[in-house]
């Protein structure tokens, strides 16, 4: 059964349609990459999937369950769908460790000692255990973004949404974040990734979706999209990003 599914989703800001008839299915342990020009609706799509934005029509399903059911509590849904942002959005008033602990403690209500040992294990995995007591502003952008990824993993989500997580980084720091995402993909993490890193998308994606002006114009395997795009719009976009 699919982990996350969007069915004919429509989203407007005022009169301006931002997503039009968007459908996608993400199976467990798969990685889907969303590509498209800036303003094409990638961030909006991810926010709708996480119920951070209400949708105007269509449906979002988690493990086959419709999330437009009024009995569904969005807070419970978001514990299962984690999100990582372009600008990290670490909490500046909390230490690295407390950033990672915030969700487990105050959304899941787990006790500190137990959650803490797990958080330290996660930080050790990205080589930042020794920085657990530091505040985020002491860390490089690459380190901050890796902490942000670990912060979402601490929730043990069913799916991870990543919104251009390397776009705000100094080029020299992009590699360490992409390497972490590659590791996660290899370990079978289900992910929906909006990205401008085409080489990375080709490596990790099981499916690539090209979005233009809120419409999924073309979708397929990385080989289909990058080597043999069918739509003129996809070809034009890929030519521009080369």
């Amino acid at each position: 059964m699919s982990v996350l599914e969007l069915r004919h989703v429509e989203k407007r800001f005022g009169e301006h349609p931002v997503l039009r008839d968007v459908s996608l299915t993400l199976e467990a342990h798969r990685v889907a990459c969303l590509i498209g020009a800036s303003g094409s609706g990638k961030s909006t799509l991810l926010r709708c999937a996480n119920l951070l934005e209400p949708i105007d029509a269509g449906d979002v399903l988690l493990h086959g369950q419709s999330l437009s059911d009024p009995r569904v509590d969005p807070n419970l849904v978001r514990r299962e769908i984690a999100m990582v942002f372009q600008s990290f959005n670490l909490f500046p008033h909390l230490s690295v460790l407390d950033n990672v602990l915030l969700g487990p403690r105050y959304a899941l209500g787990r006790d500190r000692a137990e959650a803490e040992s797990e958080a330290r294990t996660l930080l050790a995995r990205i080589g930042l255990e020794s920085r657990a007591g530091d505040y985020p502003d002491r860390l490089s952008g690459g380190q901050q973004q890796r902490v942000a990824i670990v912060r979402s993993l601490a929730m043990r989500p069913s799916v991870l949404l990543l919104d251009e997580v390397t776009s705000a980084l100094d080029p020299t720091l992009v590699g360490e974040v992409l390497d972490l995402l590659r590791d996660l993909a290899t370990a079978g993490t289900t992910m929906l990734i909006a990205t401008h890193e085409m080489a990375f998308a080709r490596d990790v994606a099981s499916e690539v979706l090209f979005l233009e002006e809120g419409v999924i114009v073309e979708r397929g395997t990385p080989a289909q999209i990058f080597d043999d795009p069918q739509e003129p719009a996809t070809r034009a976009f890929l030519r521009r990003t080369e």
Binding site: N50, M83, F85, P92, H93, A107, A148, R151
Partner: protein, 296 residues
């Protein structure tokens, strides 16, 4: 080789100050500011000596004997101590500050909430801040201090003037402080709220764990500024007959016909407010240098 190449360059000494000025330059800043401070103070004080009414003013405003008696009080002449009056000011503002911090926060949180359930509170909170920031505090003091006793409502109408004073100050300042908090809440980047909500935190948990801790930190200096004003405004409660520093000073001056008691009261208020003023400035300077460091 290095020597010869340096020898051919321009003489570094051409950029030096004249030798005579070099010795002075190091201590120049301190020396100049000390001399100019003394000169300015001397000039201001000298006004009391050469002005035609100078002697008069010195005797009626700056008599050390009267200052001392006013400070201590003299029960045999019915003179109240300005010093112990100040104790009343201190507990009035301490109590008001605690109440204002709590009530101001509640009002601010009500105002920024988007929940439809809280809509009536949002309207009330907006109305409250609009009304009480618009009414002079002295009038609020009168309305509470004379209005509540006139109601003849048991305990509500039989409190001391100081209690009505605290009530009036709390009512007025909660409106100002709520706006300070609200500005702080609005200054927290939206991405922080998105990050917290996407972790599954509820709106309330997001406020409590993410938004408010950051908001409070940024508004500490403006909050302290409001507290400095409130410390001074405790003097307004004298109009209700509360025996605080200003009132004791007034009794002294109208009994002995010497105004030195007011100067004592003024000095005592300075002793209270100046440390807070300095501390607030220190915090503002620290924030500023942090921001400059962060921007580089």
């Amino acid at each position: 080789m290095t020597d010869s190449s340096e020898g051919t360059g321009p003489d570094p000494a051409r950029l030096y100050l004249p030798r005579r000025k070099v010795a002075f330059a190091g201590r120049r800043g301190t020396a100049v500011s000390a001399v100019s401070s003394v000169a300015v103070i001397a000039l201001l004080v000298s006004v009391f000596f050469w002005a035609p009414g100078g002697a008069n003013v010195r005797a009626t405003f700056f008599s050390f004997h009267d200052m001392w008696v006013a400070f201590r009080g003299d029960p045999s002449k019915g003179l109240l101590s300005v010093g112990s009056g100040l104790i009343t000011n201190i507990w009035m503002f301490l109590l008001s500050e605690v109440l204002v911090l709590a009530i101001g926060l509640l009002i601010a949180v009500a105002r920024v909430s988007r929940s439809p359930v809280l809509a009536p509170f949002r309207v009330l909170a907006t109305l409250y801040t609009d009304v009480f920031r618009g009414i002079p505090i002295l009038l609020v003091v009168y309305i509470i201090g004379f209005g509540l006793p006139a109601l003849s409502l048991g305990a509500i109408s039989s409190q001391s003037p100081a209690v009505y004073g605290v009530t009036a100050l709390t009512i007025s300042y909660s409106a100002y402080v709520a706006e300070v908090y609200r500005a702080g809440i609005n200054s927290v980047p939206h991405g922080q709220i998105l990050a917290a909500r996407s972790l599954g935190l509820t709106y309330a948990a997001t406020m409590r764990r993410v938004v408010l801790p950051q908001a409070v930190r940024t508004v500490i200096p403006p909050l302290l500024n409001d507290f400095i004003s409130m410390q001074k405004d405790t003097a307004l409660v004298s109009t209700l007959g509360a025996i605080e520093a200003t009132r004791a000073a007034q009794i002294y001056s109208s009994t002995v016909f010497n105004f030195s008691s007011y100067v004592v009261a003024a000095l005592l208020f300075l002793v209270l407010t100046v440390p807070l003023t300095r501390y607030t400035d220190h915090l503002i300077a620290r924030d500023r240098s942090r921001r400059l460091a962060g921007a580089s």
